[in-house]
């Protein structure tokens, strides 16, 4: 069971969090987006076997969104940050 370091509340167990998904997804500018970009925004996710930047929500705690850099094979968590924050360490 994962132990996730909420940037505000500290290390908390996985069951306090809800998984949101790929942290690299950015909503495109609706005025300029192409159809293909829009479809990719909705359906294509980075799905690496290895280091993955992802969002979780600390649903039972502060309800903040947390960016987590995690290895999808070993489940090692390399670092966490606020959604717009930077995580040091191994890159995705």
């Amino acid at each position: 069971m994962l132990l996730i370091n909420c940037p505000w509340c500290g290390e908390r167990t996985q069951s306090e969090f809800a998984y949101v998904g790929d942290a690299n997804v950015v909503r495109p500018d609706p005025d300029t987006v192409s159809d293909q970009e829009w479809i990719n925004y909705i359906y294509i996710r980075s799905n690496p076997k290895g280091v993955h930047d992802e969002l979780w929500q600390h649903i039972a705690g502060c309800r903040c969104f947390v960016k987590v850099r995690r290895d999808t094979v070993s489940h090692e968590i390399i670092g966490t940050a606020a959604p717009a924050g930077k995580i040091d360490g191994r890159e995705a």
Binding site: M1, L2, L3, T13, A18, V20, R27, P30, D31, V33, D35, W38, Y41, I42, L55, Q57, I59, R63, C64, F65, S74, H75, I77, P83, A84
Partner: protein, 1001 residues
């Protein structure tokens, strides 16, 4: 009841002052406090305790611990019966009842033993090759196979006991309470760390209990007592005995299963039967010991064949002689200690058979001193006796051919102690993703590289000598404490121990039988997998370790191959001509030993499976005789039946009262979200498909929101409460998802917007007052709100007091009648509801439940989950005109996709039965021709259906391909699964008051 003929006169750790009576297979026996069922049976001379899985061979007791493959019994009867318990782990208590399983009519005479006669026809995987003709007979074959398989019997009544969970956070978790674990706990505890120690057995001391070692010149038990006493005084140390470490998960989370009352005759109802611990440990010390391996030779499964260490444990710990005359068969030194101890306990040791040619003179001298013979370079090739060992055949062993040679010599005995070496218990280490390696000297897998914050120490680390265990334990405990951030100098000095035998072993994986020698050589005793089965898998190409396991079922029993896997791997390695590590190992999967589903469930059982969410008026509904229906976690009043009324009559009466007079329904579970901030209106504008920027204060607007893929997500009303302040309502089912959806966009996508979201679902009790008389009633319960149509028109919002409570009043309507939704602070909900009910009594008010509410909204063509099914668009549901063309909103860009604009899309319509009376079946599909044979193309589906008491005929909502263009046409709503079909006319989905006169009146 007779005495205990195999009990020694003295010694052991049992309490001879406390005899206990128990029943096995209907016979009454006596044992002592401190016995296991296995030791008590052996004390009474009972060796035959079970039958094997496939061949139904008689089986006895092989081990003295968790690795037991044979002695599985059914304990107790009735609701508390439990199958497949290992007799070696069941603590004896007064009145214990147990019986053999997987045998009929009795363990001594088991009809299914005929399987043994056909055993040549049923090798590993035989079922893949036959039972295929004729194909329809498989059901019959399967019936027989299933009846023959399985072990014990499941209870058929609900479990009367309760269970609980406990979370723990330890600096250091020590798993194992033997010498290594105790030493580690001591070291970490003295350093000041929070230490949790888990020991599977009742008593502390591990292997020391079964031996006769000395520590500091005294019996080891004295040292154990001293350490346990010291640990018990440490405030930050928690000692958990009867607690199995079952699973090791990511980030150092370890699951422990504690047996709290299983060993008690009658349980204290204040205590749970078992407790499941989830320990999050900074550091873990694994001190899980090792398990002795049996040897593979002909008829090695007969009752009376026992692991040497187990026979020793029965003698030393339980004061039980496992036989009168014993032979010891070994390939390593540890069995010599067992031989001496058994001899000291009064068992006549005929001889020690050692496959090795060279044996340390120290060992031989020890045997000689005790008057025990030794045959080196020899093996046991077979066992005689069916239900109990009667003699063994011994032959010389040629190490070059790896075969027995010469003439067999028969040795009489009733106990054969075997030792094939030791397997460190690396299961938890492996579960923690540590890498294991094969150690040639020990001929076993040992921990290599750790992955998480754990370290192995003592026997489980391949250190088989007591001095090394104590030293490694002290070092591991110290290191763990230091890693957890505690400053402590050097490890505590491990105590001195008596003389120890050196470790030495010659691998012996399989003793091939001399020619014409009959019988079976079992590798996996529980699943009846033999050495020839492994050979068969090899010859058919099932050579990878996983194929071997799956094809033969090796290691798939309740012991999960704890004692069989390494022997099986080694035999396969021999056949393939490769080294054992090349064959690999199967993955060790949680749990280490089986744990009850009850313990895993904990308190979340029965009605408490999930928490119940109750509205403030819940108790009123109960008193009013409501029938309840789950809606997510909420329990909602479905209908209030009156005496003598059918369910349908009650629902109809409630629905009619709303259209004719006035009714009130509890709508508290609707999601309510308080939205504040300078950009609140802009935020709503981006969330909803329609405009919210121009909504005046004091007004309510209906809104529809989409998912980003353009499909309708949820709907509800949003009210402009005050400047920069709104309240949104959501459907009950989507209250949580909508809140998360909004939080995601507010926090992550548009963090620049100043908007604050707070769920106020629980703050406000909600009640919808609906019906032509609702205004009159409302006037009677409020002094300070002008509810006239002019002052409070449709879609108005007002505040004031109702029944003396502060209230919010929304002129909105789900029923299509003149209606108001009242929100009061939830603590007032009960009284306000009661107050309105009292005030409404002269007007004929009726509470109504979710069923009547559903009828009212179907009559109005309002959509809910049947229509908002995750596949419908705003256009499909008739919201097309709401789609703003002047702004962006979530999901807008997806709407241009061709399939979302197809002509043939299914659109919301109404249905009326052509005959005016036949109900439209729920869940029906719409077809053009009901008589057509399958596949019959479906034009649409019924999404909601009811009998309208107001229109006096059935009505339904449906989504039908291109439905809006087909108003007036007839189609068929068919429901083959309920054998219903009705011809229906397609109509507008609004059945009542399409001009909205009632609504606005």
């Amino acid at each position: 009841m007779n005495g205990q003929p195999f009990r020694t006169a003295a010694g052991g750790r049992i309490n001879r002052a406390k005899p206990l009576v128990f029943t096995f297979n209907g016979r009454i026996y006596q044992g002592f406090e401190g016995d296991t069922l296995a030791s008590a049976l052996l004390a009474n001379g009972v060796h035959l305790v079970g039958r094997s899985f496939k061949y139904h061979r008689p089986r006895g007791i092989l081990s003295a611990g968790a690795e037991e493959p044979n002695a599985l019994v059914q304990v107790e009867t009735g609701a508390r019966t439990e199958p497949n318990l290992r007799a070696t782990q069941i603590e004896l208590h007064e009145g214990l009842t147990a019986s053999s399983q997987n045998c009929w009519p009795s363990v001594a005479f088991d009809v299914s033993a005929v399987n043994g006669w056909f055993s040549r026809l049923i090798p590993a995987g035989f079922y893949y090759k036959t039972f295929m003709w004729p194909s329809k007979w498989w059901k019959a074959y399967e019936h027989v196979i299933r009846r023959a398989a399985g072990l014990g019997i499941a209870p058929s009544e609900p479990d009367p006991d309760h269970y609980e969970h406990r979370f723990d956070h330890a600096d250091v978790l020590v798993i194992g309470g033997g010498p290594t674990g105790l030493m580690a706990a001591l070291a970490a505890g003295r350093a000041g760390a929070r230490v949790t120690v888990a020991e599977e057995r009742t008593e502390w001391g591990g292997a020391l209990l079964a031996g006769n070692e000395t520590i500091k010149g005294k019996p080891a038990a004295d040292w154990v007592g001293g350490v346990v006493a010291e640990l018990s005084t440490m405030k930050e140390v928690m000692m958990l005995s009867r607690t199995t470490a079952a699973a090791y998960y990511d980030h150092n989370m370890v699951v422990l299963a504690e047996r709290v009352t299983d060993h008690q005759t009658s349980s204290d109802l204040n205590l749970p039967r078992q407790r499941l611990w989830q320990v999050r440990a900074n550091q873990v010390v694994l001190a899980t010991g090792a398990i002795e391996r049996p040897l593979v030779f002909t008829n090695n499964d007969r009752p009376g064949v026992m692991l040497a260490s187990a026979a020793r444990a029965y003698a030393n710990q339980y004061g039980v002689r496992a036989g009168r005359q014993a032979v010891v068969f070994t390939n390593n030194n540890s069995a010599y200690r067992a031989a001496l101890d058994l001899s000291a306990a009064g068992i006549d040791i005929e001889t020690v058979i050692d496959v090795r040619n060279e044996v340390s003179p120290v060992l031989l001298d020890g045997l000689k001193e005790a008057g025990i013979g030794c045959l080196t370079g020899s093996v046991v090739v077979g066992v005689h006796g069916t239900k109990r060992v009667s003699s063994v055949d011994v032959m010389a062993f040629d190490t070059t051919t790896a075969r027995p040679e010469g003439k067999p010599r028969r040795v009489q005995c009733d106990l054969l102690c075997v030792s094939g070496g030791w397997n460190p218990t690396v299961h938890l280490f492996s579960q923690s993703r540590g890498k294991i390696r094969y150690d040639d000297t020990l001929a076993a897998f040992v921990p290599d590289v750790s992955f998480q914050n754990e370290r192995s120490a003592g026997t489980c680390n391949g250190a088989f000598q007591l001095a090394a265990c104590l030293r490694e334990g002290a070092e591991a405990g110290t290191e763990a404490a230091v890693q957890a951030g505690f400053k402590c100098g050097t490890a505590p000095e491990p105590p001195t121990v008596g003389d120890e035998l050196p470790t030495a072993l010659q691998p012996l994986w399989d003793v091939p039988p001399p020619s014409k020698f009959r019988g079976k050589r079992f590798v996996d005793l529980q699943n009846d997998v033999t050495a020839p089965d492994v050979a068969l898998a090899h010859c058919e190409g099932y050579r990878s370790v996983e194929h071997l396991k799956r094809y033969t079922t090796l290691g798939m029993g309740t012991d999960q191959g704890r004692i069989s896997n390494v022997n099986g791997l080694a035999i396969m390695a021999g056949l393939r001509g490769v080294a054992i590590p090349t064959v690999g190992t199967t993955t060790f999967r949680p749990p280490y030993t089986p744990i009850t589903l009850g313990a895993i469930t904990g308190t979340e059982r029965g009605q408490h499976f999930t928490p119940i969410r109750r509205s403030a008026m819940y108790d009123w509904h109960v008193k009013a005789g409501a029938r309840f229906v789950p809606a997510g976690l909420w329990l909602r009043a479905q209908v209030y039946e009156r005496p003598g009324e059918s369910l349908m009559q009650a629902i109809g009466r409630e629905a009619k009262s709303v259209r004719e007079t006035v009714g009130m329904v509890d709508v508290s579970p609707l999601g309510k979200i308080d939205i504040q901030g300078r950009n609140a209106a802009e935020f709503l504008n981006r969330v909803y498909i329609n405009d919210f920027k121009k909504l005046p204060i004091g007004r309510v607007r209906y809104g529809v929101m989409l998912r980003e893929d353009g499909i309708v997500f949820d709907d509800g009303t949003t009210t402009h409460i005050a400047e920069n302040h709104f309240m949104m309502t959501t459907t009950t089912a989507n209250a949580g998802p909508v809140m998360q959806h909004l939080e995601y966009y507010a926090h992550v996508v548009w963090p620049e917007l100043d908007v604050h979201l707070v769920s106020v679902t629980e703050e406000w009790a909600g009640m919808a007052l609906a019906g032509p008389a609702s205004r009159k009633l409302l006037e009677a319960v409020t002094d300070d709100i002008d509810v006239s149509n002019e002052a409070c028109p449709f879609m108005a919002f007002r505040t004031g007091t109702i029944a003396g409570a502060p209230a919010r009043l929304f002129r909105i309507s789900f029923s299509g009648e003149l209606a108001y939704e009242i929100n009061v602070p939830a603590d007032y909900g009960m009284d306000v509801w009661q107050w309105i009910m009292n005030a409404g009594a002269p007007l004929g008010i009726s509470p109504y439940g979710t069923e009547a509410m559903s009828i009212l909204r179907i009559e109005k063509g309002h959509v809910v989950s049947g229509e908002i099914n995750g596949r419908t668009t705003a256009g499909d549901l008739g919201f097309g005109s709401m789609l703003s063309t002047t702004k962006d909103y979530i999901g807008r860009h997806s709407l241009t996709r061709p399939a979302l604009n197809d002509d043939g899309r299914k659109q919301l319509v109404g249905l009326i039965p052509d005959d005016g009376r036949t109900a439209v079946p729920r869940g029906a599909q719409i077809v053009a021709n009901p008589k057509r044979v399958a596949p019959n193309p479906m034009l649409g589906e019924v999404t909601s259906s009811c009998y309208s008491p107001n229109l006096r005929h059935p009505i339904a909502l449906a989504i039908v391909a291109d439905g809006r263009r087909h108003h007036g046409e007839t189609l068929h709503a068919v429901s083959p699964v309920t054998d219903e079909a009705v011809k229906v006319r397609v109509t507008d989905p609004v059945f009542i008051d399409p001009e909205k006169e009632r609504l606005r009146g």
